[in-house]
Amino acid sequence: MKKKYSVILLLLLLILSIIMVNITTEIYWSIAFDAADGNWTFAHYYLSVYKQEILLMILSISALLLSVLIKNSLNNVKNRPLVIGMNTIIKGIIILEIMNAISSINTLVYLNDRRAHLSISMFISIGLIVVILLVLITLVFETIAVLKKSMNKQ
């Protein structure tokens, strides 16, 4: 069971990243395009998405915790740089989310102008796709390592 621990954590991280991509698509693309087409005020856009943005931040924190736990439970030590890489990207995503939120608060309170909003959503989406790729690569190597270990035991 202990051997499979890292694989389970990696699968959880993969599911979490896919859910996060889904949320970012909804708030930064789907609703954002509605806002652009309908010429919404910033308050209209932000009050439609702020709950999902908070959810996204909570999921990012969970993803960061998972990556920290994965780092110390790897069967193949060569995967460690990959996990450190995804950990760093997730940290970057969280920083971008916080910057985005602070910019949104400023725009909502003082400007209410959609054009003034700092758009960094593109980087969050790209970062998440890179995380998914890294998780997939690590998952493949880890599964091979787990299989090799169980075959050696037999």
């Binding site: 789907s30 308050a43 931040m57 924190i61 736990l69 939120a101």
Partner: protein
């Protein structure tokens, strides 16, 4: 400000408790390792610390978002002129004029539920067409545009315009005829 101080104190307390818990687990692990017993795979302390700093940052940001949304609600919902009526809209939906000279509903959430309930048949008919926007109310707003004044679609459009006035913090040129 008060909520920020309370949250900071709670986060400091939780942080101290986490550190104490980690130290105890680390001691147990060290004893087990010396006795050749299986050990728990604990995360590195620096990673855990960084994670907790990010948790704190996100909690503060979420609190900031909540405060700004509440602030927006307070300034837009504040009525300057009560007992306002709009042509074609019954007194079933209480209205007022806010500080930005826009007509808004007095109790927005309750009124919009009433609007949806009272226009159920019409909404069902409008929703059969392919959607223009992701949100249900925005979709209905665009779908009811351009109808003649006496139609049900026009009345629903006026109600939805008033509903969307909640998002305006500037005086808008209102097409709604207000009777004071």
């Amino acid at each position: 400000m008060k909520s920020f101080i309370i949250v900071s104190l709670v986060l400091i307390m939780v942080g101290i408790l986490l550190l104490i818990g980690y130290k105890k687990l680390f001691k147990v692990n060290s004893k087990n390792a010396l006795a050749d017993k299986p050990v728990l795979s604990l995360p590195d302390l620096n990673d855990l610390l960084m994670w907790y700093i990010y948790v704190c940052l996100i909690i503060f940001t979420s609190l900031g978002i909540h405060i700004s949304v509440t602030y927006h609600d307070q300034r837009v919902s504040k009525c300057v002129e009560e007992d306002v009526s709009v042509r074609g809209i019954t007194s079933e939906y209480p209205l007022c004029i806010n500080q930005y000279s826009n007509v808004v509903f007095k109790d927005r959430d309750e009124v919009i539920q009433k609007v949806l309930l009272n226009n159920e048949a019409l909404i069902e008919q409008l929703e059969k067409r392919p959607p223009i926007a992701t949100d249900k109310l925005d979709n209905l707003y665009y779908r009811t545009e351009g109808y003649a004044q006496d139609t049900d679609e026009y009345k629903l459009h006026v109600l939805l315009t008033i509903y969307l006035n909640y998002y305006e913090i500037k005086t808008i040129e209102n097409s709604i005829e207000v009777i004071k």
